[in-house]
Symmetry: C2
Subunit: 272 residues, 2 copies
């Protein structure tokens, strides 16, 4: 089946690296740098890259929609607009398919999740974060993450998360919550609570192997003062993000897109 995730955040927040880390595939090649002075773009671009991957024995067509240019310019007014347009164009494409006589071949290209990268300033959300999240939260499942979380100490992460969540609550922004079911077993309820308690996930990505202090080869980043391990839950929340996005809640993300976000869009559109 298909899963389409959009990735949004300023250049240099480790987005490509995190996607490679999440799906254990070099979907994004190491960046090549053009020489200085090469004319840069002036608007947000929408680019798509797909791969067939296998998760939990299930074959999956994964598409990542990238949004280079977001937040990168001196003037980022309306940087959210090409992104909203793209999400809505995909809703329109689905609506158009739904209205056909023969609907056996429905292709679901809608955005099922938007991973939004928050710069690890240590303070609180930036104006551009708030504007984007406010504009997008009714159109797509938002999964905000704190990028490059190895920039922050444990205490800084805790207080930063509190302030980010306070900003989110204050602006009435809805972020994706894994649904709680009545009949789930104790272990699943426990696991879901643990995942929820870490939102927004403080993530670190790495698509290279390094040697940890005890000699193991791990995915991580090697600094002169120590080695951070991506898959170590006492180092960052990467495992939780992967659990939520890829293992446990991929289905809910697609369902919520179809049953709620898309339906709201369709209703608004047909009423207009």
């Amino acid at each position: 089946f298909q899963f389409t995730a959009m990735v949004v955040g300023e250049s240099g927040l480790g987005k490509s690296t995190l996607i490679n880390t999440l799906f254990e595939t070099k979907l994004y090649a190491p960046k090549e740098y053009p020489p200085p002075g090469v004319e840069r773009g002036k608007t947000v671009q929408i680019e798509s890259i797909s791969a067939d991957i296998e998760e939990n024995g299930v074959r999956l067509k994964l598409t990542i929609v990238d949004t280079p240019g977001f937040g990168d310019y001196v003037n980022n007014d309306e940087s959210w607009k090409p992104i909203v347009d793209n999400i809505e164009a995909r809703f329109d494409a689905y609506l158009e398919q739904e209205n056909r006589v023969n609907r056996k071949q429905l292709i679901d290209n809608r955005i099922h999740a938007c991973i939004y990268f928050i710069q690890p300033t240590g303070h609180s959300l930036k104006p551009i974060d708030i504007e984007f999240l406010r504009r997008l939260h009714t159109k797509v499942n938002l999964i905000p993450v704190i990028a490059k979380a190895d920039t922050l100490t444990d205490e800084e992460i805790t207080s930063f998360k509190q302030r980010v969540l306070a900003d989110i609550a204050h602006h009435g922004i809805r972020i994706f919550q894994p649904p709680q079911y009545e009949n789930e077993d104790e272990e699943t309820i426990q696991e879901n609570e643990e995942i929820l308690s870490k939102v927004p996930f403080a993530v670190v990505g790495s698509d290279t192997l390094v040697r940890a202090a005890d000699g193991r080869q791990v995915r991580g980043r090697a600094y002169p003062w120590g080695v951070i391990e991506v898959d170590n839950e006492s180092h960052c929340d990467f495992v939780k993000l992967r659990q939520m996005l890829v293992r446990t809640h991929m289905e809910e993300l697609r369902e919520h897109t179809n049953d709620v976000l898309y339906e709201d869009y369709r209703t608004d559109k047909l009423r207009a």
Copy 2:
């Protein structure tokens, strides 16, 4: 005597912390966070804070000029303008004093150095960096630093510095170079070359003490995977920045401001 340094960079790049670290004084108190939704400023502010400090047995009136708001908005067009205006206003104030009958009480409030904080994206300079540096390099001694350099591994720092210097060269931006004198001894020449080879300095700041791996109390940041020490030259270039700015080249920074930058400004102004 007086020394006035301006500090420029987006919020959250560790500017206040670095100033406290450089001058070993809590010039900036820990940030207090207003509740979410408190109306934020819309333009770049210029704020000044002074302290009497002692360096190398010399008593010094240190003034730090802060520029909150720079690079923080969705639209940062002209964010450089209040900063250029402030630098020029100080030149004008000095010019006015120079023209008085009695010049015994000249107060030098001119900006002697501008420390510009580069976000550690790992890629290259951002459009806002290039615009600022291009606008300011003829008005003030520019000392660009790579902020929060503990975000980058040693290899990433090396390649990032190369790309940043390539951008700077490409745009004809002049950054402060400690002058080389003919008659200096071998040791000083060596020391200056080492300082120069590290530009732009990859800095880390900390105004708190933490326990290093070997038990020493050090200024640094404690992560679950290790402790970075600010004063450890294999961890970051903080010591080099401190040497250049505070120990060896404070006098050259003031002289270059007076003999070159101010004179150029005065000549342009009187010709106009």
